[in-house]
Symmetry: C2
Subunit: 333 residues, 2 copies
Amino acid sequence: MTAVQYDVLGIGNAIVDVIARTDDDFLAAQKMHKGAMVLIDEERADKLYAAMGPAVEISGGSAANTIVGVASLGGRSAFVGKVRDDSLGDVFAHDIRAAGVTFDTPPAFDGPSTARCYVLVTPDGQRTMNTYLGAAQDLHPNDIDGDMMAAAAITYLEGYLWDPKHAKDAFLKAATAAHGAGRRVALTLSDAFCVDRWRGEFLELMRNGTVDILFANEAELHSLYQTADFDTALAALKAEARLAAITRSEKGCVVVAGSEVIAVPAAAVDRVVDTTGAGDLFAAGFLFGLATGVGHERAARLGAMAAAEVIQHLGARPESSLKQLAQQSGLVS
Amino acid sequence: MTAVQYDVLGIGNAIVDVIARTDDDFLAAQKMHKGAMVLIDEERADKLYAAMGPAVEISGGSAANTIVGVASLGGRSAFVGKVRDDSLGDVFAHDIRAAGVTFDTPPAFDGPSTARCYVLVTPDGQRTMNTYLGAAQDLHPNDIDGDMMAAAAITYLEGYLWDPKHAKDAFLKAATAAHGAGRRVALTLSDAFCVDRWRGEFLELMRNGTVDILFANEAELHSLYQTADFDTALAALKAEARLAAITRSEKGCVVVAGSEVIAVPAAAVDRVVDTTGAGDLFAAGFLFGLATGVGHERAARLGAMAAAEVIQHLGARPESSLKQLAQQSGLVS
């Protein structure tokens, strides 16, 4: 059996976030649904970018943020995702490697440019996202080296991967390789509208055992089971999930582990600046906890701690060492 | 006579800042002189980038930052500088236009990529800069449309323009066009090492009347007159400058206007996060004040206010409306 080389390996869309502060009027004028992620084509991306204010570029991508969080916690991690060989692609590759993550996916040498997510942050700290998938669409099964998944305690996949054409096949190849080596596979549902697009397939992934660990926020869980009632959705989840973590913003999170349900409160924050990455960093802490065997409750507390760090500044990747924060909170020794 | 269309027009290197937090050990290991700007070639840029931590990309460039500051104060402004037609070039062009600045310089379609300044911010808020000039080197005299300078109350040039090969000629063409229309020309000395490289020519520009308004910080002034004593340097400056503003960090600034010397204190700040852009934004406030005729002391106070805003966050461009801040401070009505 392959030795574990990575605590967590993530596969996702390799994206650079283009973050601008805005107000509710701009969202209304652009007919945007606050807090949601929508996919846009290049023409729309160009128009939106021309209409937005000055921005800051920070590497992003949901699973990539999670994997950087795992590295910041001191975990061994790797990422698989597709950029173009352009300057924003260089930025993405530099930032994830500089964070200590193994990133070996070769860039695309032609086709669309590196993916961008236009993140509009309102004064309440909420983020509304418009994603141009660009080169991320070109993640193919042949970008998946099964030996890497075999060497990862957990392979983590983002639901957004269901949107690009070939990424779904890459996802399934990776899950098969992970399970073939006796490893676990985790999935985040990513976004309520993403669940709307792929509900049947996501449920099937959970039911047929492709996915062992599920991450969702309340809105995504409600969308998955098409109910507005949290307890109804949770009961449905309990009936079929092996292990799931449901994040509930300032209400903390709920871990469902077989018949056991554990509620963990959110970590205190001074001021919410930008909620981008809250779910991604929760997943980082929880996955790191699982991979290092600390138990579900402590794993959830690590997730809450990591999420609290990332919402107190602009951008979806930690600015402080999560390992040091975890040591200071007594969550790791 | 051409009507005034712009309060301030800036010409400078069009640069995207790549900002990373670091520590003094990294600067020492990289043999960097803290607080200085050095020019690096592409090979060194690649090596440095590989060695630095995760970064944030924010549009920069000294004169460009100043011009964005003028726009933020409510002034009419324009910028001339060269990017490549690559993704970071798009970022630069978007950000400066989104700030309300006229920017019409066509990008280069071949040659080196858009210029980057690797900004290393230490915990004390100081920035150490390594600039790869890239496409900015290709600013040519034919990028200068003299009608624009004729329509600008003040044309503002950065000393860094003396480094790229053809930019010096562009600079002189712009100054001639401005003076031909009876406008004023301002120059910032940019950096003490830049003064070291071009001392004789900078002094000549001031002495032969190419430059009407001079900006410098203490270190640059000391370098210009090759003295470690501020009063000696100031006396030399008084003997030959028509109008000069010398910034002295937390000690505020000194305006030399003929025989008159006015000292203005620095504006109070809660916490210095990143000093990048302090001098650029001082120039923005001072130039806006001059162009709108508020008098030297109030112009210097506008400069101090703008500098105080920019050092309280990462990046060299204002995040808040400087016009609103100026109104709140009673500096403009």
